[in-house]
Symmetry: C2
Amino acid sequence: MAEMKIERIKGFRDQYPEDMGPRKHLIGIAEQRAERFGFQKVDVPSLESLELYRIKSGDELVSQTYSFVDRGGREVTMIPEFTPSVVRMLAARKDIPRPVRWYGTPKLWRYEEPQAGRLREHIQFNADIFGVDSPEADSEVIGLAASILDSLGLGGEYEIRISNREITEKILKGIGIKDTRRAFAVIDRFRKVTKEEFLKDIGSAGASENNAEKLLAFLSEQFEIEELKDRLGNLVQGIIWDGDAIERIIYTGRLIKTYTPSAVKYDLSIVRGLSYYTGIVFEAFDIKGEFRSILGGGRYNNLAGLLSDQDIPAVGFGMGDAVIELLLKRVGKWVPEPVGDSYYIASLLKERKEYAMVVANSVRKYRRAVADISGRGLSAQMKAAASSGCSHAVIIGEKERSGEEVTVRDMETGEQQTVSLKSFLESLE
Amino acid sequence: MAEMKIERIKGFRDQYPEDMGPRKHLIGIAEQRAERFGFQKVDVPSLESLELYRIKSGDELVSQTYSFVDRGGREVTMIPEFTPSVVRMLAARKDIPRPVRWYGTPKLWRYEEPQAGRLREHIQFNADIFGVDSPEADSEVIGLAASILDSLGLGGEYEIRISNREITEKILKGIGIKDTRRAFAVIDRFRKVTKEEFLKDIGSAGASENNAEKLLAFLSEQFEIEELKDRLGNLVQGIIWDGDAIERIIYTGRLIKTYTPSAVKYDLSIVRGLSYYTGIVFEAFDIKGEFRSILGGGRYNNLAGLLSDQDIPAVGFGMGDAVIELLLKRVGKWVPEPVGDSYYIASLLKERKEYAMVVANSVRKYRRAVADISGRGLSAQMKAAASSGCSHAVIIGEKERSGEEVTVRDMETGEQQTVSLKSFLESLE
């Protein structure tokens, strides 16, 4: 280890090429799928008034932000989320025809204790559809999420779990719970506590012992969305389900299956925090259950009304780059974009050395070319060529320059031949 | 204008699709050219210890940063520059074979009064070559800069101006100036002051009246690099130029011309600040002289030694996204990536509505498809299709679904025909 006078701050990442290449590939795939789905890229300020988050989330979130008073006396924060800024942007532009499909790849910051899959700075891919409340909009967003994971080669490695906050609310009331906000908080912690703790907590929220046991059973398994009606009947007898929310989520499940062959399950334990979401909520999990959720989102129809004078229905999701990195590494797919053939330009010229750069720049019209800029001897240059990962070396000596030729070596087989520059370039076209 | 409860912070940008599309194109071109030149992408933390910048630049820069004390009591800053972090990263990894070519596209922040082409937050494309001090390395970096501008369609709209800090130092000494640091500061302000002020200031730094006038003349014009020797002879008689620095920059100029047909001029007024740079320095300017420099950089061989126990020669440049945006807008090239044919999927289905999504998702294997998710009537959907910018609409009614067909309308000509889904998809392949 080198001796450094300055250290990196804990929870932040130095991203060397071996990780940045795969990360660029990951974000590139997400962007490409979003563009194919008709989403347009937007970006937001990295600093916002702290007030934006106080309005949205209250002081709990605020205590976990990088907030400070700037030189102009403003209370500002490095953004912990993308969506509030995007909603602020959209609400300010009534001229933009809705619905709109927007995505972004911001960096986000939280002052938290770093742990696996959770950093103080991360990149988050976000996509939202604003201006329409329909099961098709919900499924476009969830379908995009699945399409990104499938395009990354993760088919069969993940499943999507959905729930609906309205249905959960109705269930809680149906089993006699009055303080549903408190019960939501208990369900939100379901996977972090023991069964005994859960039963005690949900009991304190107003559930009878029998209902608490039934709820525990319901929360403990994921099932096909089509089974929802039967299971609800077993859980809560005597309620009349008006059916709309249930029919809608069953239809949404059917729609999602047109996007991906992946499993889509109902999971009542999906809550996604206490406020904010108003309808469908969803997360994607690796099937081995080793990591936190890979991505998550849902419908939030009330946020614009909090931040502006407009109501704008919205559905979206966010995918941080840390958990998916762990999953892609586990399955051996944390890899950069394929680069194709690439050329290491080795020069032995002592005069009119520009010829090597003429060759490099001609190759760059078609392919990657790394020009050796060191003036080292041939064997040192060939060693560098080998460690560069280039598929070919192009060797240029006095003979090649005077004849307008190049000597091309296949780095794998070691075979080499001298050809005219012209025909070499034609072979790249 | 909508009524907003929260405003954006001054000097920061909301990036709507109409600007984000061209910006994505700009950054994409820069990244693609860098990859072709064999540069690898890296990224750095957005927060660093303030000390990193104190060591590099002293308190003047620090007073223009977004710095604060974090919840853990650390003095931190939102990074105002990319290079110090990259040098910190490289110095920490002696195992990486050098030279290395690294690039990045960080967001950077400065607490300054916003003005045209200068914002409190901007994106900067950066590229550096570490580990070798050669004219070829210098020209690879300057050549990459030119290649990016050329690939953006800016050929003929800009010129590159170069100078060399060692040569400038020698000139200043040659005309009798002892406090060359102070004289550098005067030259750095050359374009911001009147001739009279310049003459007075350079006189205070120790130049005779005659030499001050000669220096003014030298600074006032850009010329072909080949003319450097003659011009130096006229300016400073009696100095023996050992010639290395001059031969090198003339050769570098010749190399740069293998990358770009653009003009490459010598410009003694290019200084680029007071510390940091040790050899060649360069900037690109729009030929009309309307804006600040589009990009700039140079050789800085001493930075690693300040931050670590190693000396690592380095050359690089940075290009912010604000000035080039102004230039691209002026020449009508602030445009997004071409998107090709794209399809607006309009659905009139009342049942088994999934078919519309099956079509959308099939199209997305090959092209962009925007699915209408509103459940509106046909004329409203066609109006949305027209304003979406899609080249075609795909209309799906009960007849199309039952026959596994689609009706495809050319949005420009209005012509439409109904074909089997299978043959439609084959036409996209």
